[in-house]
């Protein structure tokens, strides 16, 4: 592997950090699915070479100033073993009130678990399957889309994911088809006692013109082994299609959760993303939405609750590439103890993207003197007929509100809980699907009860 020495890494990257990951790559590469597909081998090769050249980002990298990945260096993560396959589950998370199993795919340590998955309730023509199978059953669909939006270029973690890409969810909704049932994607991190475990789920969502789907990702942990989930999901939203993509991350606090979601929205399409972050020691959600056709609409919102030594990073990029599109971004978070949150929200309005309507709001509630938020909104506007606003607030619980509640007999802790819940519920209002909103609300309530 001479690549690391051939290319000089740009400032803000640590190529040496790539080494332990690349050593594993040589061991696992022959076993990766679709090894016979030359385009895939090329794609993995691009990811590999790019990651080898860059390594992990450092805090000298502008995009990683507030999130330090040095902890990953020390852990020398190993690829997931078969151990996860033996794990049985009494209960998997769902947003379904009745607890019934609808269409869902389940992945344990990044590996597909067919016996826990189901395509029940999907309309004819809709494909919901895992990537490893899709490479044999739907190679053209995958070849046409995979790696087209999430490019490894200056994204070392996307490059790492691309090098190792093996499995993950694939959804294809044909033109004009509405999927009524909520599709659930369940990712369980288990790991092993023996060593920290890394996996790189790769998702692909293709919603053809005038189609509609609601997708909920659950990321949960079982046990307390150290894991690294480094996921990438690409979402293609066709003309007039709408994709509602919700995610809740409740992994345990010894896990690392890195995620990159990249959407491309055609004319009159809607991409609606909401992420609720509760778990992980360190998490970063990157969401990129490119409004690539006129009158497209994207919502990129979320809520987070962190405490102890948790670190949560939200890095979003909304690209108004075409005229007459709207974007809305509402992030709210509660930070307690020594926890730290990062919000980086970039909106770019390209020169021809007239009549853009953009809105960004980021609000944080600090519950302790040692809690911290670093916020960096960035608006780059190159068109002149544009409506764009952004706001950021950082505050504490309101003393007047607390006193009012206590004066009515509500004890201090309950009163604080009510106010925290109220703060977050405003963000959850951004979730259009009622069943999802209700479920997410209950996760918020559980977090509070555990305080």
């Amino acid at each position: 592997m001479a690549t690391t020495t051939l290319t000089k890494a740009p400032r803000g990257y640590d190529p040496a950090a790539a080494k332990p990951f690349l050593e594993q790559f040589d061991r696992v590469k022959d076993g990766l699915p679709g090894a016979g597909l030359s385009w895939l081998t090329d794609l993995r090769g691009q990811g590999h070479d790019r990651f080898a050249a860059l390594g992990l980002p450092t805090v000298k990298n502008e995009s990683w100033r507030y999130t330090n990945l040095r902890a990953l260096d020390k852990l020398s993560f190993q690829p997931a073993t078969d151990a996860g396959e033996a794990v049985r589950f009494d209960l998997l998370p769902t947003v379904r009130a009745d607890g019934a199993t609808g269409p869902r795919l389940v992945f344990v340590d990044g590996r597909f678990r067919a016996e826990l998955s189901s395509t029940a309730g999907l309309p004819a023509g809709v494909e919901l399957l895992n990537l490893a199978d899709a490479l044999t059953r739907k190679p053209d669909l995958v070849a046409e889309h995979l790696g087209r939006i999430a490019a490894p270029d200056d994204q070392p973690l996307v490059a790492l994911n691309t090098a190792f890409l093996a499995d993950g969810p694939v959804l294809h909704v044909p033109r004009g088809v509405t999927v009524d049932e909520t599709i659930e994607l369940v990712f369980v991190s288990v790991g092993t006692e023996a060593q920290p475990t890394a996996f790189h789920p790769r998702g692909l969502i293709v919603a053809e013109a005038e189609s509609r789907a609601v997708i909920v990702e659950h990321h949960v942990g079982l046990g307390s082994c150290t894991t690294l989930s480094n996921g990438v999901t690409e979402v293609f939203v066709g003309a007039g299609a709408s994709v509602h993509h919700y995610k809740v991350q409740r992994e345990h606090t010894d896990s690392f959760h890195l995620s990159h979601t990249a959407a491309k929205v055609a004319g009159k399409g809607i991409y609606d993303n909401f992420i609720l972050t509760i778990g992980a020691k360190l998490s970063r959600n990157e969401v990129t939405s490119v409004l690539d056709g006129e009158e497209g609409d994207t919502h990129v919102s979320g809520a987070y609750m962190v405490r102890g030594g948790q670190h949560v990073d939200t890095t979003t990029f909304i690209d108004h590439a075409k005229p007459c599109c709207t974007s809305r971004e509402v992030y709210k978070g509660v930070i307690d103890d020594q926890a730290r949150a990062v919000f980086q929200g970039k909106i770019i309005v390209r020169p021809n993207a007239q009549k853009t309507d953009g809105y960004q709001q980021n609000r944080a509630l600090l519950l302790s003197d040692t809690a911290e938020i670093d916020a960096k909104p960035e608006l780059e506007i190159y068109a002149d007929d544009v409506k764009c606003s952004h706001g950021a607030t950082v505050g504490e619980l309101d003393d007047d509100q607390l006193f009012y509640l206590r004066a009515r007999g509500i004890d201090k802790d309950t009163a604080r809980g009510l106010l925290i819940g109220a703060f977050l519920s405003e963000a959850l209002e951004e979730i259009a699907e009622e069943s999802v909103r209700d479920a997410f609300q209950s996760y918020v309530a559980n977090w509070q009860n555990a305080r």
Binding site: D399, Q401, F403, L405, R406, A407, R408, G409, K412, L419
Partner: protein, 250 residues
């Protein structure tokens, strides 16, 4: 019911209450009248237990207990209620959720069973009707988007639901037109009983036409300057507070 003795309180080192003595017996309605800055609101906040007030001297006994030692929520559970001059807006908390949490918290502390959703709804519907409030106001976030009159009606509703033993009405008339004032006063009067006491704090006599007090006290410069019957209020209305050295025209 409540016995206030030589109560002194300061805010940021500045003494606001300079020796209040006041005893209210069960069933009595007392009015405290006074000009701006006389210490009226400070007295109500000190009694309700708000942070930021330093009690430098004196005592308050409420139903035989040391009120000043209690947390605000303990005071509420013991039966004290403050109707706020400026009810606080709480976005994101529905009025019903708030009322139910408050009622059940108090019932729990009193050792009474908590009400379930149905029982609570029945109770609160009955009370809202009497105050010409709509179901829609219950669903809205606490005081958010309420008019001045709606906020005061909402305070009265809380009082009706929580059934306190002793209620302090802090400038309940402020910001109310005459119709709203009548509705609120009716709501308050409906709660008068031989077991329940009230302290009505106001600048103007007008409110006392509708909530007729048994005793009236004049508060100025942090002390009760004079006490009397309800006729004292009329006298103040006529002569103002000049007699007590207060020049309100200034």
């Amino acid at each position: 019911m409540i016995e206030i003795k030589n109560l002194h309180a300061s805010v940021d080192g500045k003494e606001i209450l300079k020796g209040i003595d006041l005893t209210i017996n069960p069933g009595e309605v007392h009015a405290i009248m006074g000009p701006n800055g006389s210490g009226k609101s400070t007295l109500s906040y000190v009694l309700a237990g708000r942070d930021g007030y330093e009690i430098t001297e004196g005592s308050v006994s409420f139903l035989g207990k040391d009120l000043l030692e209690m947390e605000p929520e303990e005071r509420a559970a013991a039966g004290l209620f403050l109707a706020f001059q400026y009810p606080v807006e709480i976005p994101g908390v529905a009025n019903t959720t708030f009322l139910k949490s408050a009622l059940n918290a108090i019932r729990k502390k009193r050792g009474e069973p908590e009400l379930d959703a149905m029982q609570f709804l029945k109770l609160v519907r009955e009370k809202t009707k009497a105050l010409s409030m709509t179901d829609e106001m219950l669903k809205r976030a606490v005081n958010v988007g309420f008019s001045g009159g709606e906020k005061k009606r909402n305070e009265t509703l809380q009082m009706a639901v929580l059934q306190p033993k002793f209620a302090i009405l802090d400038e309940t008339d402020s910001g109310l037109d005459i119709d709203a004032l009548k509705i609120v006063a009716e709501g308050v009067n409906a709660l008068r009983s031989p077991e329940r006491s009230m302290l009505v704090i106001t600048h103007y006599q007008r409110l006392l036409d509708y909530i007729v007090p048994d005793h009236v006290h004049v508060l100025a410069f942090g002390k009760i300057q004079r006490s009397g019957g309800k006729e004292l209020a009329l006298e103040l209305e006529k002569n103002g507070y000049a007699e007590f050295g207060v020049n309100e025209a200034a």
